[in-house]
């Protein structure tokens, strides 16, 4: 019985090791929070007057529409009094960051569940140093967070954790995240 087990083990182990080496490796690096919008193809985004006053209108408008080439996502620039996504800008120096996003679920700050709102903030005293394309890249990146995409494990994505892709639209890894989410 013991000899039989040993024989079986000898036969199975090399095959298993070989199989694990040859198994296709993970190619996507995107990360998602777990939460999502119930109607991603009908999201209203508003631009607060602070955005216009601080000169971030163009980058914000780009961020709003940057993901719209997906047939699953449609974000509209809206003047609705209760939009899904609100863009603000701070003229006070909030710290060493350009912009950030906080999502809400059921009116409570939360990255899980079904999103009810999202607040995107520009930190004007720091972000004003960005050139127009890096500001647009930041706008598209923040919109990605609002849609439920976290920082990617790859640098080849607009959702990269640090630095720039020197592009202004989502890349393959970003679209994979959207397709996995919605």
């Amino acid at each position: 019985m013991l000899i039989n087990l040993k024989r079986i083990f000898k036969l199975v182990l090399p095959v298993a090791i070989l199989f694990s080496i040859l198994l296709p490796q993970k190619t996507e690096a995107y990360v998602i929070y777990g939460g999502k919008w119930a109607t991603p193809n009908d999201l209203k985004a508003s631009i607060d007057s602070t955005v216009t006053a601080t000169g971030f209108t163009s980058a914000t408008e780009h961020g709003i529409s940057a993901w719209n080439s997906s047939n699953k996502i449609q974000v509209f620039n809206s003047t609705s009094s209760s939009p899904h996504i609100k863009w603000f800008a701070s003229s006070a120096d909030l710290g060493e960051f350009y912009a950030d996003t906080l999502n809400y679920s059921g009116g409570v700050p939360n990255w899980q569940g079904s999103y009810s709102n999202s607040v995107i903030r520009w930190n004007q005293p720091r972000a004003k140093n960005l050139d127009s394309n890096r500001a647009k890249e930041t706008g598209a990146h923040e919109m990605g967070h609002a849609l439920g995409v976290a920082h990617s494990d790859t640098t080849n994505a607009i959702m990269r954790a640090e630095g720039w892709i020197y592009g202004t639209y989502p890349l393959t890894d970003d679209w994979n995240a959207i397709n996995a989410l919605y």
Partner: protein, 212 residues
């Protein structure tokens, strides 16, 4: 013949089980991975919910050290002011805390900023208590009162006499270590797992240079 057949069946079954274990443990199934940073973290501190975004980052300790004009060590004495602003829908648009920080030692003060040992300066912390939740920017965790920290600071660009922490959370280094784990620093950070690894390395070098 029968024995050969059963060996093949057994091998195939083991192989299937092995690959299923691999798939479930490595996330190869569909390539997606839930973010650990997204959940509210609770660990001997209030529940934190953090924003995500585009921070000004530092590639390593040398980069942080070189690009910082003010490096001090000391203790947070009190929270002077909680800045918490919300819009008509109750959505937070500003969440910060201005804290008093008693400077024990000044290691670097390149621009002769008005910071002296024994005096208290105001440090802007990127988090604020909102009811029973702390709203945080990019995973910043508030300093504990009367605990010692090494701070890498830069003047706030709009409020004179206020200092910001470099890279939101990069420049706040707790000097105390995790109890029982002498080589591990208590990062006091609520952000991404990947950032935690990077911070651990940066903090270790910072402590080696300024806390020995």
């Amino acid at each position: 013949m029968k024995s050969k057949k059963s060996k093949i069946v057994l091998s195939a079954t083991s192989l299937l089980a092995f690959s299923l274990i691999l798939i479930f443990t490595s996330g190869i199934g569909n390539g997606q991975k839930a973010s650990s940073s997204s959940t509210a973290v609770k660990k001997n501190t209030p529940t934190y919910v953090s924003s995500q975004g585009s921070g000004i980052t530092y590639k390593d300790f040398a980069d942080l050290d070189a690009r910082t004009e003010l490096i001090v060590k000391g203790k947070k004495t009190k929270e002077d002011k909680i800045i918490l602003m919300k819009d008509g829908q109750g959505l937070a648009t500003d969440y910060r805390t201005l804290s008093g920080f008693e400077v024990g030692q000044v290691f670097k003060n390149e621009n002769n900023l008005n910071v002296k040992e024994g005096e208290t300066i105001t440090v802007q912390e990127n988090a604020a208590l909102d009811g029973d939740v702390v709203l945080s920017t990019l995973g910043y965790q508030l300093m504990n009162s009367d605990e010692e920290y090494l701070l890498f600071l830069t003047p706030n660009l709009t409020e004179q006499g206020v200092y910001n922490i470099k890279g939101v959370y990069y420049g706040k280094v707790p000097t105390q270590q995790v109890q029982g784990l002498t080589s591990q620093i208590d990062l006091q950070f609520k952000g991404d797992q990947e950032d935690q690894k990077k911070l651990q390395a940066i903090f270790q070098e910072a402590l080696y240079k300024y806390n020995n």
